[in-house]
Symmetry: C2
Subunit: 199 residues, 2 copies
């Protein structure tokens, strides 16, 4: 379990601890606070060790993004195969745990090419998975894919959930109750459609 991939974990876990420490600092204080000294202290090692494991701070950021992406993608794949995919999509994207970190990477991606490339790849993998699950769900309910393309439905649900999270993070809650009620009403209505009635 600690041996995640290849022979990467031949150390005392310092590499992994550095990645986790960096994620924590970015989440709590922003990417600008995630300096080599700061994350080293957080991980319980000395500053120079950061440069033994990562060529530069940008490389460390990329590894943090990659690690988080793998975890998120795995959870998403699991969750979208069972249950009602639409409802699962709504809950998964509404988790506030990853919100702040996502925002940091979004800002970073706007100014650092390596981050941008990595984030784009991740976002498109997520969209593919979510859209596939939504497609199955909509087809089973006989929803016309011309009128409601699966990719549109998956984007609407995911983006709305994430927007509520982002706004909550800065204290904005105006209209949130109404929006949640609306989305959940729509999802219930759709779920009530007799599966196969459209055949």
């Amino acid at each position: 379990m600690a041996q995640s991939r290849k022979a990467k974990a031949a150390d005392g876990g310092a590499r992994l601890r550095l990645i986790e420490a960096t994620a924590k600092v970015m989440r709590d204080e922003g990417y600008a606070a995630a300096t080599s000294r700061r994350v080293a202290t957080e991980a319980g090692v000395k500053q120079a060790l950061v440069y033994y494991y990562f060529p530069s701070m940008d490389d460390l950021f990329v590894e943090v993004l990659r690690a988080g992406a793998e975890v998120s993608l795995a959870r998403m794949r699991d969750a979208l195969t069972d249950d009602d995919p639409l409802l699962t999509l709504w809950s998964l994207n509404g988790e506030s745990r990853m919100t702040a970190l996502n925002t940091e990477f979004m800002a970073l991606a706007n100014h650092r090419k390596v981050i941008r490339v990595e984030l784009k790849a991740y976002a498109e993998r997520v969209r593919d998975i979510e859209t596939a699950a939504v497609a199955v769900s909509l087809r089973a309910r006989g929803v016309d894919p011309q009128a409601f393309p699966p990719v549109v439905v998956s984007m609407l649900i995911a983006q709305t959930a994430r927007s509520l999270c982002n706004e909550s993070a800065v204290g904005v809650t105006l209209g949130h109750d109404e929006m949640r009620a609306f989305v959940e009403r729509q999802l219930r209505t759709l779920a009530a459609v007799t599966p196969g009635s459209g055949r």
Copy 2:
């Protein structure tokens, strides 16, 4: 025109230039690059002058946010009174000009209280204006406000437009064409409803 408010512009425009320079640096290189030295150089003044006009860098950031908010709010008020408010809402929020700066302030707001408070106030003023305009438009078309609350419709349109912008900024365009077609089809359908038919 250069005399915006009170007697603030008793200088040679240095204060305003500092605000604009800070916005530019934040947009181009991120908030972490907007240091007192960097923005001073960009504005053509010396670093110490920043602290003559602003007590701290955070205060400068707040002023940048305020200035941008005033401009955006004014444009929004103008645009939403004439034309089709729903379509205007869609276009205004789809402008990419402000996207990067908004993302920076979002990230900043997650970790700096003064920014968070200011951004929250701005976001709620925007929502109020947009919702009011949408309410008028929906009522004129006889849309049931129970089934489609104006605040929900305004959030959906605005958030979707902004999400497309944010994604485009990092190179993600998967599903964008479908989403744009979908939204514009919905807006056309709604616009085609004979005004007053619901009376």
